[in-house]
C-alpha cells in the first residue's frame, strides 16, 4: 500500500480556450512507455471537431487583424512557458518512447527555439513575401500576404513535439487560427502542449487541439467548409490523395511536406518564410496616383 496515492490527470480536449471532455464520452488508452502505466486521452468526435472549427473560425478575424508585434509576443510567450515546463514535456516525450533523456531535452529545446523563431517572423513576413509591383501607368500597386483563415494541422507521429510545434507555429505567426489533431501514435506531448498554450495569452479559439483517432476526424476536417487550408506531413500516397480529393469540394488549400526525422531539427529550413507562405493569400491592391 503506497504512502500517498497519485492524483492522475484527466486529459481533455482544448477547444475555444476551454479544456473539455469529448462529447463522445469515450477515451482511448495510451501506455506510458517508461512507467508502464496507462493514460486515457479523449477520443474526440466529429461534433468536437465541429466545435473546434467553429471556435477557430470565430477567433479568426481578431487574430488576423492583431498586429504582428502582438502575435509575435504571444508566440514568444508560448516559448517562455514551454521553457519553464521543459522537464514535464521531456517526461511526456518519455511516455511516447523517445529514447534517452538527452534526446528528449534536445527535442524540447529545439521546439522552444522553433517557437522563438516563428515569433520573430510574425512582424516580418509581409516585408519578405509582399511588395510593390512596378505596373506601367499612374497606379500604386502593392501585394501583401494575408492569412488563409482556419488551418487544420495534421502532424506526423515523430518527432511528436517538434513536428507539431513547427507545423503549428508557421500558419499561426501569419495570423491563421488552428485546429490541430494530435499525432495519433504519440499524442501526449501535444495534449500537454495545450496546457502550455492555455497559459500563454493565446486568445481563446486561436489554437484548438484534439486527441483521438485520425481516421474518425481528418476526413471531417478535410470536408469542413470553414477550414480554409490543411497542413499535413509524411502522409502515405493513398491518404494524401484522398485528403486532396475531399478538400477539392471546398477548394481548400492542401499543403503536404515530406520531412525526415532529422529534417525537423534543421532550424534554417523548417523556419523559413516558405514554410509560412502556403498559409497566406496574396492580396493585391490598386489605386490611381493623381493630384
Amino acid at each position: 500500500m503506497p504512502q500517498r496515492v497519485d492524483v492522475a490527470k484527466t486529459w481533455k480536449l482544448f477547444i475555444g480556450g476551454q479544456f473539455v471532455r469529448s462529447e463522445s464520452g469515450q477515451s482511448f488508452p495510451i501506455e506510458h512507455r517508461r512507467h508502464g502505466t496507462t493514460l486515457n486521452l479523449c477520443r474526440g468526435s466529429r461534433k468536437d471537431l465541429r466545435d473546434a472549427v467553429e471556435a477557430a473560425h470565430s477567433a479568426s478575424e481578431k487574430w488576423a487583424s492583431a498586429s504582428g508585434y502582438l502575435r509575435g509576443q504571444i508566440i514568444y510567450r508560448m516559448a517562455e512557458m514551454l521553457e519553464s515546463r521543459r522537464s514535464e514535456m521531456s517526461e511526456a516525450l518519455a511516455a511516447v518512447g523517445t529514447s534517452t533523456p538527452k534526446k528528449r531535452l534536445d527535442e524540447v529545446d529545439a521546439a522552444i527555439d522553433r517557437l522563438v523563431g516563428f515569433a520573430g517572423w510574425a512582424d516580418k513576413i509581409e516585408q519578405i513575401l509582399g511588395g510593390q509591383n512596378p505596373v506601367p501607368g499612374p497606379y500604386y500597386n502593392i501585394t501583401v500576404p494575408e492569412p488563409s483563415g482556419v488551418v487544420g494541422v495534421l502532424p506526423p507521429d515523430r518527432p511528436a513535439l517538434l513536428a507539431s510545434i513547427s507545423m503549428l507555429a508557421a500558419p499561426l505567426c501569419a495570423g491563421n487560427t488552428i485546429v490541430m489533431l494530435a499525432p495519433e501514435g504519440h499524442p501526449l506531448p501535444v495534449a500537454l502542449l495545450a496546457e502550455i498554450i492555455a497559459t500563454s495569452d493565446v486568445p481563446d479559439g486561436v489554437i484548438n487541439i484534439m486527441t483521438g483517432k485520425r481516421e474518425e476526424l481528418m476526413w471531417h476536417l478535410a470536408d469542413h467548409r470553414e477550414v480554409d487550408a490543411v497542413s499535413a506531413a509524411n502522409l502515405d500516397d493513398e491518404t494524401l490523395t484522398e485528403l486532396r480529393q475531399r478538400a477539392a469540394e471546398s477548394l481548400k488549400r492542401v499543403h503536404h511536406d515530406s520531412v525526415t526525422a532529422a529534417g525537423w531539427s534543421k532550424h534554417e529550413s523548417r523556419c523559413s518564410p516558405w514554410n509560412i507562405e502556403p498559409f497566406v493569400e496574396m492580396k493585391t491592391m490598386w489605386h490611381p496616383s493623381a493630384c
Binding site: L251, H287, P288
Partner: protein, 489 residues
Amino acid sequence: MNDANPTASASTASMWEYAPAPERTPLEIDDRYGLFINGEFRSPNSRRWFESLNPATGEVLSKVANANQQDVDDAVSAARQALPSWSRLSGQERAKYLFRIARRIQERARELSVLETMDGGKPIKESRDIDIPLAARHFFYHAGWADKLQWAFAGATPRPVGVCGQIIPWNFPLLMAAWKIAPALACGNTCVLKPAETTSLTALRLAEIFQEAGLPPGVVNIVTGAGKTGQLLAAHEDIDKLAFTGSTEVGKKIAEVAAVGDRRLTLELGGKSPHIIFADAALDQAVEGVVNGIWFNQGHVCCAGSRLLVEESIQDEMIRRLKHRLGSLRVGDPLDKNTDIGAINNPEQLDKIKGYVEAGQAEGAVLHEVTTQSLPKKGLWFRPCFLTGVQPSHVIARDEIFGPVLAMMTFRTPEEAIKRANNSPYGLAAGVWTDKGARIFEMAKRLQAGVIWCNTYNQFDAASPFGGVKESGFGREGGRHGLRAYVRI
C-alpha cells in the same frame, strides 16, 4: 463620357448608324488548323475536327483539330522530352526566346487583334488596346525573370516544376495563353496548352510565332478540343503541374482529378465580385468604373464587378447615371472600333445569361435596359443591363452570370458593405470607391478577395499578381508571386 447633362443624349442611340469598320482588313485564315506538337502542326490522331465560328456572324472561320487521348499523350511526351534541355538552358538564353516572342506579338498585333475579335466576339478596341498588348507585355515581363529567379525567392533555390498542363478559357484567349506560358517558360518548364473550344485560333497563331522565334520543339505544345480534351490533359499522369482558368464548378472537378500523385495545382476560377460605391466617391469616375467593371468584354470576365453595392443615399443618382450610360453603349459589330459591347461568345452562354435575367425578374428584381438601338440580325447578342430591387438572397446576386448583367443593391454603413460584400463563396476581386483614404485601406484589408481595385476597376498588368481566395481558386498569376507556381523551392 461624363456628360454635363446626363439625360439629354439617352435617346440618340437609335440615330447612330454603324460606320464601316476599317479593321475589316483581309486576314488569312487557314481552312484547318492541326495540333501543335513538338514544334510542328499535325493532323490529329482522332481524325476529327470541329468548327470555330465567328459569334458575331455565325460564319465558320476555320476547322480545328479535336485532340484525343493519343494526341494528348503525344503532346505531353513531346513536352517531357523537351524538358531536360530547356530547363538546363541558361536563364539568359531562355529570356531571349521570350523577348523574341514578345516582339513578334507586337509586330503582328493588328492581325492578332482582328482574329481575336472575329473568333471570340470581343470589341476590336478591347483586343487592340488590352488583350494583345498585354499578351506581349506578359512575355516581355517574364523574359526578364528567366535569369533572375535566384533573387526572387528569399533564401531559396528555385528549380523548374517540370511539364505543365494549362487549360484556359474563351474570354481572353491569347492573353490567357500568355499568362500561362510566359511564366512557365521563364522558370524553365515545358507546357501543353489547351485553349477553349470556341477560341483556339489566336493560340495557334501564337504557335506560329513560337516557330518564328525558333523556340525549341516540344517546349510548348498546343492541343485543341472541347472539355473532354481538357479532362484528358488534367488527368494525364505525366503532368507535374496543372493550371486551370475557368468556372468554379469545373475547377472543383479538376482539383479532384489532380489529387492523384505529386501534382501541383493552381486554379483561377469564378467570381461574383462586389463593387462598392460610397456616397463621398467621385461619382463621375465611379460610374465609369462601374461601366468598365461589368460591361467590359460583354461581362465575360471572371473578376467582373457584378454585384454593385451603392450607399443608400446615392442610389437614385446612380440609377439615373447608369441608365444614361446604358443608352450610350454601342452594341454590335465587334470589328467596329466604336463598339462597346460585342457578341456573346457562344450560344450556351447566351442562354445562360438570358435564363439568369429571367430568374432575376421572376424573383422580383426590376430590369433596366435600353432597347432603342437595334441589334444585328445575325449573331449572338445580349443588351447590357442592370437590375434593381435585388436582394442578397436572389440568384442573380449570388451566381456568376458571366454576362453584361449587373445586380444593384444598397448599404448604409461601411460595416454593412463589408458584410454584404464578403457574403459569397467567391473571393476573386472587389472594387471600392470613396474619397476617404483611411476608409480605402480599411475596406481593402477587410474585403475577402485576391485583388482590390480602389477608385478604379479592371486594371491588369504582368507585374501585378492576379488570383482569388475562397472558391475563386488559389495561386497567383503575374508578378514575382506568379512565378511561385512554376518553381520548386
